[in-house]
């Protein structure tokens, strides 16, 4: 008996899973598995009896220490994807299919109570702190200390000290911890939001448009801060933005979403150098180049489809200058070559990244 018990004690002590940074992981975690694997995620909203397919079959992997940028127009499912990761969806939204594996643990299968264990301690989110993400009636230091006390069971004094350290880490003087959110500038609030997100030493930090409401100078400072923290703390980052330059500066990989699906995904350098998907090409062309001559921007005409009744084939087909007949009928399969994954009929399996038909010259998008 004694032997069995001591053996089981030794076993449980030895098998507390730890990640590459030495963080203790939840008991069921398998450190041999990738940090985060999202498989065929489908998150639907119900709206007045209709089903909105906001996220419709999205898959991606996030490795330890990696920064993944998720790009796309407004309403293409970026934020819904991010919120799905820790199941922070509004009550009319539901993950109807797919798996979200954190070190092999499927978060989709967790109960509403059990998922709380993963929030903030494993995956935290930096919301638009410049807006209303901080509670107006509590002092900064108390808001930062709250997860420390509630989730890590730190004593009041220790939590307060740690909150001060976190503020210093993001470049806010410790004594400003007594301030209320309305007493700070947008940039400072965003820093405070980042300090909050780091409180429980999470493996993954999701930035949901963290720089959107800020002016460019402050934006650059915040990105620099995120970049430094990622390097110093070994964080993994998911950065959601419609600003491609933010991804180009801070991310290793980019995932381009369109109407709830992955259009293209790959290393930032590769995708920016040679975008395959017509949507990615359009997105990049719609971005002003500071070195180029002044010219009218190449906008993408039309708007994303109504996700209650999405087009049957490729969802980009109605706006795509290269659309073929097959595009309006068949959902394009995702094919991977040179580390780039693309879902487009121009690149059928085995095409090796060369478009099947040489498409006609791109149609000028809209009147100039």
């Amino acid at each position: 008996m004694t032997t069995a018990r001591s053996m089981s004690a030794a076993r449980s002590a030895a098998t507390v899973p730890v990640d590459s940074r030495g963080r203790t992981l939840p008991r069921q975690a398998d450190p041999g598995q990738p940090l985060l694997v999202v498989e065929n995620l489908r998150t639907y909203f119900s709206l007045d009896g209709d089903t909105v397919r906001a996220v419709d079959g999205v898959s991606f992997t996030l490795n330890q220490g990696e920064a993944l940028g998720i790009a796309g127009e407004s309403g293409c499912g970026k934020t819904t994807t991010a919120l799905s990761l820790v199941r922070l969806l509004p009550s009319n939204a539901k993950i109807v299919e797919g798996a979200i594996r954190y070190f092999g643990i499927d978060l989709v299968q967790k109960s509403d109570t059990a998922i709380r264990r993963y929030r903030w301690r494993e995956i935290s989110i930096v919301f638009q702190g410049a807006m209303n993400a901080l509670n107006p009636v509590h002092r900064l230091r108390d808001q930062i200390a709250e997860p420390l006390r509630e989730r890590l069971n730190l004593k009041a004094g220790a939590a307060r000290t740690k909150a001060g350290e976190l503020l210093e880490l993001v470049g806010i003087p410790k004594k400003r911890g007594g301030a209320y959110p309305h007493e700070l500038s947008g940039g400072m609030r965003q820093r405070a939001m980042i300090a909050m997100a780091l409180a429980c030493d999470p493996a993954i930090v999701i930035g949901d448009e963290p720089t959107t409401a800020l002016d460019v100078m402050v934006q650059a400072q915040i990105l620099e801060l995120l970049e430094r923290l990622r390097r110093d703390l070994g964080l993994s980052l998911v950065l959601i933005t419609h600003d491609l330059s933010v991804i180009a500066e801070t991310c290793d990989r980019i995932l381009v979403m369109y109407a709830g699906r992955v259009a293209e995904e790959g290393l930032v350098g590769e995708v920016f150098r040679a975008p395959r998907h017509p949507y990615t090409q359009k997105l990049l062309a719609a971005f002003p180049n500071i070195q180029a001559d002044r010219r009218t921007l190449d906008v993408i005409s039309g708007s994303p489809p109504d996700l209650r009744h999405p087009p049957p084939g490729c969802r980009f087909a109605p706006r795509c200058p290269f659309a073929m007949e097959v595009c309006t009928e068949v959902v394009p399969p995702e094919v991977t070559f040179d580390g780039v994954r693309v879902a487009c009929h121009l690149y059928p399996p085995g095409s090796d990244g060369v478009p099947v038909t040489v498409p006609p010259a791109p149609i000028e998008a809209g009147p100039r």
């Binding site: 922070l88 993400a133 709250e146 509630e150």
Partner: protein, 325 residues
């Protein structure tokens, strides 16, 4: 900046009370009828000399402004509100002191019950929006909110006093009753209090519940509540620490504004139940043209509304750091 906020609130309360005092003076000088005639009411064959003597005796021979006004201000500040025309020899302060407690007890308790019940009901239904309690609670709140006090009071009288005979129909104590001990007297008081108290609190509870519910619903959709959820906090803590403090803000100002209407409600409820408070006193004084008493009631009610608003401002300041600057 906390001191600055407090000073500003106090100054504004003081100015309002001063204005009420002035309006009160002007209002009653503008009313028809002359005080000396009311004073000499009942005296047979009043002569001009008697009238003149009364005028001199009460200072009515002097001009309204500045003499009478200055005298009025001076005595008001000293707490001397004059004598009742009807209750001979009794000061207005004395009459008010006797009638204020029934009102304070009835409406103080009524507000307290309504605030606790209404805010709790509103917070719960808003938090569990769409649930069974929400559906029932919301309809009940709406019905209560739209029912006037006197209707509610009369319905209660009809059901619980006249038909079921569970409670007495009027007054604060049974008239002419000899109590064996103070406890029996207290129980008799409670029996008399029950129906008017239920009327006051139920009349207010619906409104508070409705406002609190919509306030909670709105607060729960705020970004900082999503942040609190993302932190993995327990539901109870999200509600108690993040949603409630923010959701309470609009209800604090509502309750303060409401206190003004409570005065109007006081009159109807007190009259329906013949409750010997300031409401019935105001009605008695009005019908008997007892202007000094009426003036005293007005002043007292005005001052208490101002003080209630001051209290609300201070509570608001304590809850919301943004207004303190």
């Amino acid at each position: 900046m906390r001191g600055g906020y407090l000073t500003r609130r106090l100054a504004s309360a003081f100015i309002t009370i001063a204005l009420i005092t002035i309006v009160n003076f002007v209002l009653f000088r503008a009313m028809p009828g002359s005080p000396e005639r009311v004073i000499l009411r009942g005296t047979p064959n009043v002569t001009q000399a008697q009238l003149q003597a009364a005028r001199v005796r009460w200072g009515l021979d002097k001009p309204v402004f500045p003499d009478q006004f200055v005298a009025y201000l001076g005595s008001t500040v000293r707490g001397d509100l004059g004598y009742s025309f009807i209750a001979r020899g009794r000061t207005v302060t004395d009459v008010l002191a006797q009638r204020i407690w029934p009102t304070v007890i009835l409406f103080g308790l009524g507000e307290l019950v309504a605030i606790l019940l209404g805010l709790a009901l509103g917070a719960y239904t808003g938090w569990r929006r769409g649930g069974p309690i929400d559906h029932v609670g919301n309809s009940v709140s709406l019905i209560l909110y739209s029912t006037p006090y006197f209707l509610l009071g009369m319905a209660f009288l009809l059901i619980f006093a006249t038909t079921l005979r569970w409670f007495p129909t009027f007054g604060m104590l049974t008239a002419g009753m000899q109590y064996p001990d103070p406890w029996a007297r207290f129980l008799d008081f409670i029996a008399h209090l029950a129906l008017p108290l239920a009327t006051v609190s139920l009349g207010l509870v619906g409104q508070y519940a409705i406002v609190m519910r919509s306030s909670i619903v709105e607060t729960l959709s705020e970004d900082y509540v999503t942040t609190a959820r993302a932190m993995g906090l327990r539901e109870g803590r999200i509600l108690g620490r993040h949603a409630l403090p923010n959701a309470l803000l609009p209800t604090v100002s509502l309750i303060a504004i409401n206190l003004g209407y409570v005065v109007a409600g006081a009159i109807t409820v007190e009259v329906v139940f013949n409750w010997p408070g300031l409401g019935t006193l105001a009605v008695e004084a009005l019908t008997a043209r007892d202007y000094p008493v009426l003036q005293g009631v007005f002043l007292l009610l005005g001052v208490s509304v101002v003080l209630a608003n001051l209290a609300a401002d201070l509570i608001y300041g304590a809850l919301d750091p943004r207004v303190r600057t």
